[in-house]
């Protein structure tokens, strides 16, 4: 089996998930300069809601495709409301407060949501119901499944849709204008509150989809799963240049690849001293290096007022 190709495939899939989550961070940051650390928890809740809804519907005798579809719709709806409420309840009252205040609030919201999820779904690992019959393919000595293909495909479509929304619609134009100069955008009749709410809602829908992907892919979920995922996605957003949509996508894919290849080769590199379970190291090594040598990220412009 070809390790390199195999890890590239795995990295792409993981990277597609990171990218979906990273978009949520980057959109909110681009528009209001806030790092919404609770975004990982939104993803987690997306996964857990899907589990609950799908499990219930399957038990009630619904066909798998319908149960799965309704699970996704439920997750997206819950996350939309959650993202919208987060902004309304936690961040909007702090508009204009020093930057540190909403940041700490974001961390607080992350903890609140984790504990809320623990109270609702319990502390135990939950199994994600099997929605898709896995089939394995092989190419050049590397194996991949239909689930992986589907994840990459859906992620690609969602990101394409987001780009269309941002660059081809009136709402997207309002978002770009607000990101560049909220005051002037306001004078043009752009309602900043609506734009900010939209960014949260759209980011949360992408997060919900990512949550479903994580569930389908790893088939296991837990109330703390959003924390590490969120941190990695945040790293991906910083790597690509936070505030930049294309950057978040590229950063996500790149981080996935770095992690997967790192995990694949770390044993060889350290002579067997470190194993592939150390793969989390890579994300944070990348974060440290980006912050040291190119704090504006790969696609970011020089950040004066936004850093």
């Amino acid at each position: 089996m070809d390790i390199f190709l195999q890890q590239v495939i795995n990295g792409l899939v993981q990277g597609a998930i990171y990218a979906m989550v990273a978009l949520g961070y980057t959109m909110v940051y681009g528009i209001m300069g806030l790092i919404n650390f609770a975004h990982g928890e939104v993803v987690m809740i997306g996964t857990l809601v899907t589990i609950t809804v799908v499990t219930f519907l399957l038990k009630a005798g619904f066909p798998v495709w319908l149960a799965g579809g309704m699970g996704i719709v439920a997750a997206a709806s819950v996350c939309m409301v959650l993202g919208w409420s987060l902004e309304r309840v936690a961040y909007r009252p702090l508009r204009g407060a020093p930057r540190l205040t909403p940041l700490i609030t974001a961390i607080g919201m992350s903890i609140v949501l984790q504990n809320l999820a623990m109270m609702i779904w319990g502390r135990n690992y939950m199994t994600f119901p099997s929605l898709i019959e896995k089939t394995q393919f092989e190419i050049g000595g590397a194996a991949f499944t239909n689930v992986q293909v589907l994840i990459v495909l859906v992620a690609g479509l969602s990101m394409g849709g987001l780009l269309l929304l941002v660059y081809r619609t009136k709402l997207g134009m309002a978002m770009r204008a607000t990101a560049q100069n909220p005051g002037v955008a306001g004078l043009m009749g752009v309602n900043a509150n609506r734009v900010i709410s939209s960014a949260f809602v759209i980011g949360s829908v992408l997060g919900a989809l990512a949550g479903v992907m994580v569930g389908v892919y790893y088939e296991i979920a837990h109330y703390q799963m959003g924390f590490m995922l969120g941190l990695k996605a945040f790293t991906a957003a910083v790597l690509g240049g936070i505030g930049n949509l294309a950057g978040a996508m590229a950063g996500g894919i790149l981080l996935g690849l770095i992690e997967a290849l790192g995990a694949g080769y770390i044993g060889d590199l350290t002579g067997g001293f470190l194993g592939s379970h150390y793969q989390d190291i890579f994300a944070f090594v990348v974060l440290i290096f980006v912050l040291m040598f190119r704090p504006s990220g790969l696609f970011g412009e020089k950040t004066g007022d936004r850093a």
């Binding site: 009136k170 997207g172 309002a174 770009r176 560049q180 005051g183 955008a185 043009m188 009749g189 809602v201």
Partner: protein
């Protein structure tokens, strides 16, 4: 359509201070429909502060604005636009990383409806609306004469073109009152003359104009009435020929002989 000469904007005792500095001291003035109204005064006299209070960027510490028969709410820039006031900035504030066309299209926001669901699901109404926005934006670019730069990023336009683009963007909101903050600043003679023609054209289209300007010749040539601010207080508000020869104005600009 309302009659010409009727009051469009009334500022009543507008005050604003920054710490101990009184930037505006109870400024009251009246702008009538259809006129070009000049606001002049030495540097730091409070002209831009007045603009900023009126357009909701600053919250005044006292006084109020009555616009088109109803008070203007402080601190709500998007509602100010909705009521029909648009402005340009002394230091140009375009959306630099958007194209010239996009900049103007943003200005159409205030006059259009489709919201988030329209944007996502792209119904027929939303698509038609976006097409209309684009058409109108192209017309406006043509109107101010930068149509051949439509697809260039705003930050790459020449200085004069950026000023014109800002005016197009302001016009896109279909204002009743267009406020121009030193539109001729940094322009050469030819550019200033072209600007004068543009402003004349905008007035002819029925838009009332409030003009802050240092170029005295431009102000006196264009304006129907002129107000002079000095140290945040209104010195005089009258037709150019009287303002020009008022001793207080001359004193404010040149200083009094000892």
């Amino acid at each position: 359509m309302s009659a010409k000469g009727e009051v469009l904007l009334q500022a009543q005792a507008v005050a604003k201070h920054f710490g101990g500095v009184k930037a505006l001291r109870d400024v009251s003035l009246t702008i009538r429909r259809g006129e070009v109204y000049g606001l002049i005064g030495p540097n730091g006299a409070g002209k831009t502060t007045f603009f900023n209070c009126m357009t909701g960027l600053y919250v005044p510490d006292g006084g109020s604005f009555i616009f088109d028969g109803a008070p203007l709410k402080a601190d709500a820039p998007d509602q100010v636009a909705d009521r029909g006031i648009a402005r340009t900035f002394q230091n140009i504030r375009l959306f630099g990383n958007m194209t010239a066309l996009d900049n103007v299209m943003v200005g159409r926001h205030v006059r259009t409806q489709a919201g988030i669901f329209g944007a996502i699901f792209r119904g027929r109404a939303a698509r038609a609306e976006e097409a209309a926005i684009r058409r109108r934006a192209e017309e406006l670019l043509h109107y101010v004469g930068v149509e051949d730069r439509a697809d260039d990023l705003a930050k790459n336009l020449s200085y004069g073109d950026q000023r014109r683009l800002e005016i197009a963007r302001a016009l896109a909101t279909e204002p009743k009152l267009l406020c121009l903050d030193e539109p001729a600043a940094g322009m050469n003679g030819t550019e200033t003359e072209a600007l004068r023609l543009l402003i004349d054209g905008i007035r002819a289209d029925g838009v009332t104009i409030l003009l802050i300007e240092h170029d005295v010749k431009l102000v006196m040539g264009l304006c129907d009435r002129v107000a002079v601010l000095d140290y945040g207080a209104l010195l005089i508000e009258d037709v150019p020929s009287i303002v020009q020869h008022d001793p207080r104005v001359i004193e404010a600009y040149i200083g009094v002989a000892a």
